[in-house]
C-alpha cells in the first residue's frame, strides 16, 4: 500500500482528497493535518466520512514520512510551508495556486504578494494528465491547476494545439460556492450567496494566466458565482481560423480525447443535456467538453464543465498520483456522477 498524508485536511479540498483516498484500493491515508482542529475527529468536519475513518486531525508539526503528501492549504500560505515539507514525502502534490505559474512576476501580479519560494517554481510538473501524462510518470513535485483553469485548458487545447483558433479568447466562467473554501466570509453567507449571479471578477480573473500559459493564447477571463455548491462551467468564445468548419472542430475534439479516461466530448443535437454542465458531474472526475460553431471561419463557443473539488482539484491530483505510481489511472475515481441531481 502507498502511504499518503494530507495537509490542510480540514478544508473542502482536503475533505475531498480524504474521501477519494479512503476509497482507493492501493493507498492508505495515515495522516490528516489541521492546525485549527488538531485532536478532533476527521468525520466531525467531513460528516460524509462517518463510518469510513476513525482518523483525528493532527498538526503539521507531527508529520512523518509518506510515499505521497498532498497539500490542500490556502494559497499564499502554502508557499511558506511547502519548502519545509519536501523532506516528508517522496512525492509532493500541491493543490493551492502557489506553484502553478512558472514566472514569479506573474504570481505577484495575480496573487498580490511576492512569492517566497521562487526558486522552487521551476521544479513542479503541471498536474494535468491530458497534457503531461508522460512527465507525470516520474514527477516528484506536482502542481495541480486551478479548477477553472483546468476546464478552460481542456476546452481550448484541441483547437489551440491544432492551430484552429485565432486571436484572443474570451472566457466566461461560472462557479459554485465551494470554490471559495470552508473559511469564507460574509459573501458566502447563505442568505447573500443563495441565488446569486455574482460577477466577482469582471475582468482579469487570476486563472487567465494559467490558461494562457498552457494554451499559448491571449485570454480574457470573467468569473461569476451562481447558485450551486459544486461545479464550474466555462464558456470560451473564439474565432475559428479561416476555413475551419464544424466537422473539423468535432474531429479535433474526438481525436484529442479519444483515449482520455476522464474527458468526454459532449456536443449533441438533441436531448436536455446537449453541452457540458456540472449538474451531472458532482463527485465525478469527468471534465466534459463541447462546442458550437458558426459557419466556416466563424465564431466558436467552446464549453467545459467539471466538479471543482474533483477534476478541478482532488480527483485530478489523484489521477496524477495514479500515473506517478503506475496504478490504473481510474483507481479511486470510478464514481459516475448522478442524474438527476
Amino acid at each position: 500500500m502507498i502511504t499518503a498524508a494530507v495537509v490542510g485536511a480540514a478544508g473542502y479540498l482536503g475533505g475531498e482528497l480524504l474521501r477519494i483516498l479512503l476509497g482507493h484500493p492501493a493507498v492508505r491515508v495515515v495522516r490528516a493535518t489541521s492546525e485549527r482542529l488538531a485532536g478532533r475527529r476527521v468525520d466531525g468536519a467531513h460528516p460524509n466520512l462517518r463510518g469510513h475513518t476513525g482518523l483525528t486531525f493532527r498538526p503539521m508539526s507531527e508529520l512523518d514520512h509518506y510515499d505521497v503528501l498532498f497539500l490542500a492549504s490556502r494559497h499564499r500560505e502554502t508557499m511558506r510551508v511547502l519548502p519545509g515539507l519536501l523532506g516528508h514525502a517522496d512525492v509532493v502534490v500541491d493543490l493551492s495556486g502557489d506553484f502553478r505559474l512558472a514566472d514569479p512576476e506573474l504570481y505577484h501580479r495575480h496573487y498580490g504578494v511576492e512569492h517566497t519560494a521562487p526558486g522552487l517554481l521551476g521544479t513542479f510538473t503541471t498536474g494535468l494528465p491530458e497534457r503531461y501524462r508522460d512527465r507525470l510518470r516520474t514527477a516528484d513535485r506536482i502542481s495541480v491547476p486551478g479548477c477553472m483553469a483546468t476546464a478552460g485548458v481542456l476546452a481550448l487545447a484541441p483547437l489551440a494545439e491544432a492551430g484552429l483558433v485565432e486571436g484572443e479568447v474570451a472566457v466566461d466562467a461560472r462557479t459554485g460556492s465551494s470554490g471559495s473554501g470552508a473559511s469564507a466570509g460574509p459573501e458566502n453567507l447563505h442568505a447573500e450567496r443563495s441565488g446569486a449571479f455574482r460577477v466577482f471578477a469582471p475582468l482579469g480573473h487570476r486563472h487567465e494566466a494559467e490558461i494562457a500559459q498552457e494554451t499559448g493564447l491571449a485570454v480574457r477571463m470573467t468569473a461569476t458565482g451562481v447558485e450551486a455548491v459544486r461545479g464550474v462551467q466555462v464558456l470560451c468564445r473564439v474565432r475559428l481560423a479561416e476555413g475551419v468548419a464544424e466537422s473539423t472542430v468535432r474531429a479535433a475534439y474526438r481525436d484529442r480525447y479519444r483515449d482520455e479516461p476522464f474527458v468526454r466530448v459532449v456536443a449533441e443535437r438533441r436531448g436536455l443535456y446537449r453541452l457540458p454542465e456540472p449538474k451531472i458531474l458532482a463527485g465525478s472526475n469527468f471534465c466534459d467538453v463541447g462546442f458550437a460553431v458558426d459557419g466556416p471561419g466563424g465564431e466558436g463557443l467552446l464549453v467545459a464543465a467539471l466538479d471543482n473539488l474533483v477534476k478541478g482539484g482532488a480527483g485530478n491530483a489523484m489521477q496524477c498520483v495514479n500515473i506517478r505510481f503506475g496504478l490504473p489511472e481510474t483507481d479511486g475515481l470510478e464514481f459516475a456522477g448522478l442524474h438527476p441531481s
Binding site: 464544424e246 468535432r250 474526438r254 466530448v265 456536443a267 449533441e268 443535437r269 436531448g271
Partner: protein
C-alpha cells in the same frame, strides 16, 4: 453491422444489418436522429427535429 458516416457530424455510425428503410437510428457523437434512406448500401439522412423553445 455496417459502419457509415453521420450526415450531420461525419462521425462513424454503426448500423445493425437488419435495419429497415425509414427506421430511425441515432448518431452516438452528435445524437442526431438519422433516417435510413436505403439499406444496400446503408444511406442515412438527417431526420427533422423540433427545436425546444426556451421562450424569452
Amino acid at each position: 453491422m455496417t459502419a457509415t458516416e453521420c450526415p450531420a457530424c461525419e462521425a462513424s455510425v454503426v448500423v445493425d444489418d437488419a435495419v429497415l428503410p425509414n427506421e430511425i437510428v441515432e448518431c452516438g457523437d452528435c445524437r442526431s436522429e438519422l433516417e435510413v434512406v436505403t439499406t444496400e448500401p446503408v444511406l442515412l439522412a438527417l431526420a427533422p427535429t423540433i427545436e425546444e423553445d426556451w421562450g424569452e
